[in-house]
Symmetry: C2
Subunit: 255 residues, 2 copies
C-alpha cells in the first residue's frame, strides 16, 4: 500500500490561436511550446529529485482537449508512460462565448437570451470573469456544476489509485494530470477548503500556462498506509496522521 | 509613476537548530544553506527574465530575525542593494512554546495557565496547528492580532512604495521581502480575500523553506498608473483596471 501519493497538476501551454476564452473549444498548442514545457518539466523534476525524470510518473492523465492531450502524449512518449484520457478533466464549458475570439466578441448575438440580452458580450464576459459564481454565461456549464464535476473526478481518481495500492509493492505513487486553469483552481479550492465562489480565486490567483501545482497525500504513520477506509478520512480532514499538502501552486516552468 | 509593482516573498532557509516551533525565537541558518538559496534565486530570476539578476530588486526588506536577515543581507551584498529591516515582518509570537525544542516540549509547565493546564504541551501544540484561530497558546500573539499586524504592514509598505513612484521615472518597481511562513500565509489570505481563520491555510498549504511567492500589482490602463488614490481601489478590489495577481505560491527554489 502507498504511504505517499504525489499528484502534479500541469496546465497546458499557450494556445496558438486568436485570444479568446477557451473552454471546451478545441485549440492547438505549437509543437515548439509543448517541447519547451516538457524540457522544463524534466529539468524541474531533476532539480527536485536529483535523478532522471524518465519514468518519473507512474500514471499520466489528460483532459481530452488537444491543448492538453498533445502535451501529455509528448511526455508519455518521452518517458514511456501510458497516457489516459479522462473526459471529466475537461475545462468548464463557457457556452455561447466559448472560443469566440475577442476581436469578434461584439458580433455575438445575445438577443435570444433574455437574462443577458441587454448586455454587450464584452461587458458580460468581464462581469463573468469578475464573479463567475454569480454571472451565468448563456449555454455555459454553471460554475456549481463544474465544481461538482471536478470534485467527483478527484475523489474517484484518488479512490481508484488507493485501490491499486492494495496489490502494489511500491510505497509511493506519482501521478501527472495535464489539465486546465479552471480545473486546477477547483481542485485547490476543494483541498484547501476554500470558498469556490470567491471571485478572487478566478481574477487574482494566476495559473500560468505550463505551470506546475503539486499536491501530496501522505500517511505520517507508516503503520497506517493509505487505504480505502482512511482515504475518506483524508477527504474529511479528520485524521491527524493522514493529510493533504499543497506543496506549491502555479510554479512557472517556462517564463 | 509605476504601472507595475512586483513583490517577491521569500521564506528563509531551514534553521540549523533543534526541531521546534520557531516564532520570535531567534535561530540561525547555516551559511551554506543561505548561499544555496541565493544561487537558486538568481538562477530563477535569470530563467524568468533572461537577464542578470544583479540589481534585480529595487528594494529588499527583511524580518529582523536572523534566519531572514542573514539571507537578505547576503542577497543585498551580492546585488549591491540596501536591505531594510521591518520589525512588523516578524513571525507570529508563539509564546511559552516558542522555540522550545520538540524533545523538551513535555517539560514545559502549563500549570500557571488555567485554560490549558489540563493539556499536555505536545497535544496543545498539535491542536493549535490544526486550528490556530481557535486555539490560543499561552503568552502567544493571538492569530487575529498577527493578522492585523501583517495587513497593516502590507498596506503601509504599498502606500510608501506608491508615494515613491510619484517622483520616480521608472515604470516598474521590484521588491523582495525575506520573511516567514506565517507572514506569507497572511499576506496571501489578505490578497486572495480568503478566510484567514481557515485551518487548511496553516495545516495544508505548505510554504517551504527557501520558496518564492510572487505578487504583482498592475495597472491595465497605462493612462492610469498606480497612485495613492487608486491604491485604495486595488485594496478594495473595486477597480477593474488595477489589480492584484498572485503569480505563484511557494515555488521551490531548493529541493
Amino acid at each position: 500500500m502507498f504511504n505517499l501519493i504525489e499528484i502534479d497538476l500541469l496546465r497546458h501551454g499557450k494556445v496558438d490561436a486568436p485570444p479568446a476564452l477557451y473552454g471546451v473549444t478545441d485549440a492547438f498548442v505549437a509543437a515548439e511550446e509543448n517541447h519547451k514545457i516538457v524540457t522544463k518539466l524534466s529539468q524541474f523534476i531533476d532539480r527536485s529529485y536529483d535523478n532522471s525524470s524518465t519514468g518519473h510518473y507512474d500514471e499520466i492523465y489528460t483532459s481530452p482537449l488537444t491543448r492538453c492531450r498533445s502535451l501529455a502524449q509528448l511526455i508519455g512518449r518521452q518517458t514511456k508512460t501510458e497516457v489516459k484520457t479522462l473526459s471529466t478533466l475537461q475545462e468548464m464549458n463557457f457556452g455561447l462565448l466559448d472560443g469566440v475570439s475577442f476581436d469578434e466578441l461584439e458580433t455575438v448575438d445575445l438577443s435570444a437570451f433574455p437574462q443577458v440580452s441587454q448586455q454587450k458580450p464584452w461587458s458580460l464576459l468581464e462581469a463573468f470573469w469578475q464573479n463567475p459564481a454569480q454571472v451565468n454565461l448563456p449555454l455555459a456549464e454553471p460554475l456549481i456544476d463544474f465544481n461538482r464535476r471536478i470534485i467527483q473526478m478527484w475523489q474517484q481518481l484518488l479512490s481508484q489509485v488507493v485501490h491499486q495500492g492494495v496489490t502494489c509493492k511500491n510505497k509511493q505513487k506519482k501521478l501527472l494530470l495535464v489539465c486546465h486553469g479552471g480545473v486546477i483552481r477547483m481542485i485547490l479550492a476543494h483541498i484547501l477548503n476554500l470558498d469556490w465562489t470567491n471571485p478572487s480565486l478566478y481574477s487574482t490567483l494566476a495559473i500560468a500556462n505550463g505551470s506546475l501545482t503539486r499536491i501530496v497525500i501522505s500517511s505520517l504513520n507508516s503503520d497506517n498506509p493509505l487505504n480505502s477506509e482512511n482515504l475518506s478520512l483524508v477527504e474529511s480532514s479528520s485524521s491527524a496522521s493522514l493529510h493533504y499538502q499543497v506543496k506549491h501552486i502555479a510554479t512557472p516552468l517556462i517564463s
